[in-house]
């Protein structure tokens, strides 16, 4: 990265590719670990072990459907016949796509949408103007929240042009572009310095925690 000439430039390019490939093995490792944990749970009949059967069954169903391209057919492209193994594993007729559409997609979407309810509950129960700092947070959040609403319009539409910067729409834009940007920038600089120092420690061998302890 520091030396953009060969052979280092070529090494950088190759190592990027190797990193990408090794990342996939990490996915396989994750799947293997999941199986190990849940099969252990079933074997030892620990709490909620019956649900682990559901996990393992869902895992194998999806895995077999995808790895063996179930439901996928051979196809012809530009007059050339291709085998089913060359076809898209997520093609319209595949079992893998079907399972994705009726299980993975609704489950993932719904899990995330639950957060809307908890955010509402948190706004009501925990969001209190107890200190000056909390009040600043509250005001900033409130202005951002009411910006797209009729309340945001009617609260300040009557302000004269000289005070148009206080209208909710303009105020919201300013809050995002100035104080929010400054706060995020300060956090970003702090994180960048932390990453740089950690990277230095890793490169120099001072930090070895990722190796999992001495042996």
């Amino acid at each position: 990265m520091f030396i953009p000439h060969d052979p280092f430039f070529d090494m950088d390019r190759k190592f990027s590719i190797y990193y990408d490939v090794i990342a996939v093995f990490a996915f396989i490792l994750g799947g293997g670990n999941l199986l190990r944990v849940h099969l252990n749970k079933v074997y030892q009949k620990r709490t909620d072990w019956k649900y682990s059967i559901v996990t393992v069954a869902g895992f194998f169903l999806m895995l077999i459907a995808g790895l063996f391209k179930l439901g996928v057919h051979a196809y012809v492209q530009e007059g050339v016949q291709f085998s089913r193994w060359a076809a898209d594993f997520q093609g319209t007729e595949s079992l893998f796509k079907y399972l994705y559409d009726c299980t993975f997609q609704p489950l993932q979407s719904t899990m995330f949408s639950l957060l809307a309810f908890f955010v509402a509950s948190a706004s009501y129960r925990a969001f209190r103007a107890k200190t000056l700092e909390a009040t600043i947070l509250l005001i900033a959040a409130f202005v951002i929240l009411i910006r797209p609403t009729p309340l945001g319009y009617y609260l300040t539409f009557w302000l004269p042009d000289q005070l148009s910067f206080l209208k909710v729409g303009n105020l919201s834009t300013w809050i995002l572009a100035v104080p929010n940007m400054v706060g995020q920038r300060a956090i970003m600089i702090g994180i960048a310095l932390g990453i740089v120092s950690t990277s230095m420690r890793l490169i120099l061998g001072i930090e070895r925690g990722y190796l999992g302890g001495e042996s």
Partner: protein, 292 residues
């Protein structure tokens, strides 16, 4: 005295509503506007308008990379962004290269192809005006590779056609051969990684959209490192408004973001009401405790 005590008890009750009632009110605030099809248009803010103007300034034939870095969990926010940018690009005759850093991205790209590109732009061709290259693992490592050698990772498109046989891949050897990188992101890897690993080192214009959760964190990159940013569903609705202002024909087409802003607005009002209610009851109780 009795009325004051009753009133205070009512205040206490309002401050301690069961959370399931809160959930129910929230659910109704989203459900009712959907049932009555309440829609709202939001004018583009400067950061969204800048993104629009950048795409608008590109000449026909310019190469735009769209990275689908999201999945079904954030599709309600991100898919409308994909729809708007695709309409804008194809309207202007720009060439679209679709890739993904997320394994769930290709399905979203396919949905876009089936629901927007094929029905609305039937004269455009796969491989000539747009191409779907699919997902590759690696995140920032992939971006690094693509910046140096695009074809080292993408040897075929999702249909197995070799990139050497795809007309619009001619002359595309690295990300530097592209005119704009448009990332539709929802986390990591996403917009930040495209800026850090492609935009800054390769001096390639980067822009895009992201979920509302991530949007405030990307403001420091604007305007020098990202040309613009669509933040959440509101950002998508603003881009739709900008597109309609420039190309009025899209007013009669499906405008998913604007249609979904109706429930957004009512839910925001409910949350604002909950915040006010929670704080009013808190302040009254605190004053009562201080008097006591």
């Amino acid at each position: 005295m009795g009325d004051a005590e009753t009133k205070l008890t009512l205040i206490e009750k309002l401050g301690r509503v069961d959370r399931r009632i809160v959930f129910l009110v929230m659910g109704l605030a989203v459900l009712i506007p959907l049932l009555v099809h309440y829609t709202t248009m939001i004018p583009a803010s400067p950061i969204v308008q800048n993104m629009f103007d950048k795409v608008e300034s590109l000449p026909p034939g310019a190469k735009v990379l769209i990275s689908f870095d999201y999945g079904p969990s954030t599709a309600p926010e991100n898919q409308p962004m994909a729809t708007s940018i695709t309409r804008h690009c194809l309207e202007k005759g720009l060439r679209i290269y679709m890739i993904s850093l997320w394994a769930t991205g290709p399905r979203q790209a396919m949905e876009l192809i089936d629901e927007v590109i094929k029905p609305e732009f039937p004269n455009t061709k796969d491989g000539v005006d747009w191409v779907h290259l699919g997902f590759k693992a690696g995140g920032q490592g992939l971006i690094n590779t693509l910046l140096a050698d695009f074809r080292a990772m993408y040897t075929t498109d999702v249909n197995g056609v070799s990139v050497d046989k795809i007309p619009m891949m001619e002359g595309v050897k690295s990300l530097k051969d592209l005119d704009l990188i448009y990332c539709i992101g929802s986390g990591q890897p996403g917009n930040k990684e495209w800026i850090q690993f492609a935009g800054d080192p390769g001096h390639i214009p980067v822009g895009g959209g992201t979920t509302a959760v991530m949007a405030p964190q990307l403001y420091p990159y604007y305007p020098k490192q990202t040309v613009g940013l669509l933040g959440g569903l509101q950002g998508a609705a603003e881009y739709e408004a900008a597109l309609i202002a420039r190309y009025p024909k899209y007013k009669d087409m499906s405008r998913v973001a604007s249609e979904k802003m109706g429930p957004q607005v009512s839910a925001h009002l409910v949350i604002a009401a909950f915040i006010i209610l929670g704080n009013v009851t808190f302040l009254i109780e605190r004053r009562r405790r201080r008097k006591a």
